[in-house]
């Protein structure tokens, strides 16, 4: 199943939203427009390079992903709270999730896990328990001091 789901997700989302399988889908809050299709993969709004006609700085024949997203975020088809979430500050992409199923990550909450510093938390000191790094390999901030290569 864990192998089948990413495949299924890709098959469904690729043709419709040109999904890039970032594994941490935010489509609902971006007017059902995938921000990973922006050549700069911007997740917090358009850059300053948008052309006068609303097209992309990098690919002139393409409309800016964020111009489309902004328009579509007001669509009456969408639930109201999706529109309200449009200007939320989205955290940096977790590059380890690329290629994984955002559906699984949504259910497990993995797609909402962010580094401690993103929540404004400073860790006073690192765990010094040997092998702590092995317990949670996807939490590099728990590596023991001196472990950094």
């Amino acid at each position: 199943m864990p192998k089948l789901l990413p495949l299924l997700e890709d098959v469904v989302k690729k043709p419709v939203w040109d999904c890039r399988m970032c594994g941490q889908c935010v489509l609902h809050s971006t007017g059902m427009t995938c921000p990973m299709t922006c050549p700069k993969t911007l997740r917090n709004g358009p850059c300053g390079g948008v052309r006068e006609d609303g097209h992309c700085e990098v690919i002139p024949e393409m409309r800016c992903v964020w111009v489309k997203a902004e328009e579509r975020s007001h669509s009456p088809v969408n639930p109201r709270h999706w529109e309200e979430e449009f200007n939320d500050l989205r955290p940096p992409v977790d590059n380890r999730l690329k290629g994984t199923s955002s559906w699984i990550n949504l259910v497990t909450g993995r797609d909402r896990r962010t580094p401690a510093g993103w929540q404004g938390v400073a860790r006073e000191r690192f765990s010094t328990v040997p092998g702590a790094s092995m317990v949670e390999v996807d939490e590099p901030t728990t590596l023991p001091e001196g472990f950094h290569s």
């Binding site: 500050l89 955290p91 510093g117």
Partner: protein, 315 residues
């Protein structure tokens, strides 16, 4: 606290920032020469980060050199060329040398430069970078790893009030302000009505309560320069009648003068808007027009009566 931050906090007068020319060689003497030209007229200067995706002497090196020559640096950091680790390292490294002002930008795409085959990074976007940089000053890296003696930083960003989606630009400015941006240098623009709407929106949305707005004007001396920006610089559009006005001014000297007058008008308009804290200057003329502009506007350390009375200048 950086000089720029103190000056903006005091709200004593409108500030002048400018763009430092790109440096490609010539040793520190080249930096010193450019610093000497700007120092009397500006409060702080941007050390650019590979502008228009062209490689030059780095943002950190120029910022450090500038501060050694008594010029207040604003270190630009763009998201195009480095990942989150390298950008944090640059800010922390520069802070060892007393660099406090950080401007976070997305960055022009690699296709705008002379090495379009380069890999683009964009590991963070500019708003995320604002938050990450603010976190450094609060005493932690993005990972959460504590910084025992955190650097003093004055973090800002850039916003473009002139590019679509126009209705959304105020919200984006607000988002950057909420992420920690204490100043926003605005993109070059030739639509005064768009600037006015943006600034008004920022005041109403509360952006200006925490964040200083600095619109940008450019000193040019030909209609060709305006056409070039209109056609080739990402995110800049110039109304045809403005270009025609400059082009139709007469001979070369008359055109240069008309270009100057246009910049002066745009500057006066920008500075007249309630909510604007100063102005950012980009000089493509290098013929003394920058001094003329700050004199005509009566702003900056050299020509502002408040600054002169307060003894903050020797000019």
């Amino acid at each position: 606290m950086s000089r720029l931050s103190a000056l903006l906090d005091s709200r004593q007068r409108q500030v002048v920032t400018a763009e430092f020319p790109s440096i490609d060689g010539g040793g520190l003497v080249a930096v010193e020469k450019a610093a000497d030209e700007l120092r009397p007229f500006v409060d702080a200067v941007n050390a650019t980060d590979n502008p228009a995706a062209h490689a030059h002497a780095s943002n950190t090196s120029i910022a450090i050199a500038m501060s050694q020559f008594g010029l207040e640096p604003i270190m630009q950091v763009v998201c195009r060329d480095k990942n989150r680790i390298a950008m944090q390292a640059d800010i922390m490294g520069a802070s060892l040398f007393g660099i406090e002002n950080i401007a976070c930008l997305t960055g022009d795409d690699v296709t705008a430069g002379d090495e379009p085959e380069a890999r683009r990074v964009f590991d963070l976007d500019s708003t995320q970078l604002v938050k990450v940089a603010s976190g450094l000053a609060e005493g932690h890296y993005l990972s959460g790893r504590a910084i025992k003696q955190p650097p003093e930083l004055f973090v800002g960003a850039v916003e473009n009030p002139f590019a679509p989606p126009l209705d959304y630009r105020v919200l984006r400015a607000l988002k950057k302000a909420e992420a920690g941006a204490r100043f926003l240098q605005l993109q070059i623009g030739y639509y005064p009505e768009r600037l006015e709407a943006f600034v008004r929106g920022c005041v109403e949305a509360g952006v200006t309560r925490t964040t200083a707005l600095l619109p940008t004007v450019v000193l040019t001396k030909s209609a060709k320069a305006l056409s070039f920006m209109d056609e080739s610089v990402p995110g800049i559009s110039i109304p045809a009648d403005m270009i025609a006005r400059v082009a139709g001014a007469g001979d070369k000297d008359a055109i240069a003068e008309e270009s100057y007058q246009l910049t002066l008008e745009l500057s006066r308009h920008a500075l007249s808007l309630p909510g604007v804290s100063g102005i950012h200057l980009t000089d493509f003329r290098h013929d003394g027009s920058l001094e003329r502009l700050v004199r005509d506007l009566g702003i900056g350390p050299a020509y502002d009566p408040v600054a002169t009375a307060a003894g903050t200048t020797t000019a």
